[in-house]
């Protein structure tokens, strides 16, 4: 199930990226297939970890942070990426792929 979700998130991420450059809708992606009040977390393009819950705005669920912002190191980001539980900014993922290619 996790793998399926991961593929879905990746596809949505890629689709958004292809159309809009690095428009950062990670706060929405963090609430994919979640319900109101479900816990969520994401790392935005500024390397800040946002932890909170999914709340509804204009028919979308957005991850609303209720914990203080945490700065994520590269090592921590790699760990979060491998665990697959936290949505990660498409822009950061693109940077990661670019780095891997080189």
């Amino acid at each position: 199930m996790k793998k399926y979700l991961s593929v879905l998130v990746t596809l949505i991420t890629f689709n958004s990226f292809a159309h809009q450059g690095h428009v950062d809708d990670t706060a929405l992606l963090a609430c994919t297939e979640k319900q109101k009040s479900d816990p969520c977390a994401y790392v935005a393009s500024n390397l800040k970890l946002h932890k909170g819950s999914c709340q509804q705005f204009n028919q979308h669920f957005i991850c609303v942070r209720n914990q203080p912002l945490e700065t994520v190191t590269d090592k921590e980001l790699a760990k979060l990426r491998s665990e697959g539980e936290v949505a990660i900014s498409a822009w950061l993922s693109k940077q990661h792929e670019h780095h891997e290619d080189h």
Binding site: G21, I62, V64
Partner: protein, 330 residues
Amino acid sequence: MQKTPLLGLLLVLTTAFLYGCNGSQTDETASDEDTSGDGSSVTVQAVFDPDVFHDGALLDTPTIENCTLSGGTTTTCYRVTIAGEPATTEIGPFCPPSIDSDASEGGIWFDGSGEVYDIDGEFILNLENLYGGDWQLYDPETGKVNITDTQASCEGAARPDVAEEYQNHCVECSLSYFGGAVAETFLIPVEPVPMNNPDSINNNNLGLTVNGVVLAPPAPVDAILSANTIAAFDDCGGHINPFEGYHYHASTGCTESVFQSDNHASLLGYALDGYGIYGMLNMAGEEDYDLDECRGHSDDTRGYHYHSASAGENMFIGCFKGEQGSIVAE
């Protein structure tokens, strides 16, 4: 014995100086502490206080009337009419005139990514890298930024389906196009009525500021960016559209102006449910760890209240903890 009047005078002068310098207020009515006969103190929960609004923020003195809240509770509400323009700051600037402009000539932009960008010439030049190859908001021959600088262009661009000729524009509007500020009347419960299951904000305006401006839900940045437009905010996180007039989408600190005496973040306004909304950080620059899903919590002085998110998150609060009053259709 003679020290007390001198100290009192010094305190009054200091308070007057601070007030005069920054246009801010101290919320003396944030809590009413009654001392009971046995010497113990009883803290009374602070709720909507019509006295904390800045001069010029309200068009009329708030009155109290019967009302029915969103959850069906019949109670009393303050009828509050805001001026619809900030009483404490100037509106704008929004879009920089050219690719050589510095940050003082433009406002800010946030897209929910956590970043807050200064809209200067460099930002305009960098949009292609930021959002994609088909972005060009300026004339490459003159360096002038494409700005919606007429009422027609403002109305063509500041809407969900941006007219094609206004794509690749920095969007700004003027209140003068619409006959001035848009006053709005709110019914705010005198005593908040908490709910076990908070209500979603959806796409509704969520409250008002102490300087007389409406608090809007997150700006629809995906729709704005998909038309290759930047609906520029001024440095206070507000902008103008033909429907709402001037409104805020996030707090950058301009409205956090009712100081608290206990190192707590300053009050910036009230949500439709009557609970206060305070800045994100306390006076020591720290954020609270115990916020609920609506970004609220309780303390002994203020009772339940919210803390705004950062401007980069493109929102104020997550949901309504209490039954909401309403915005009165004029």
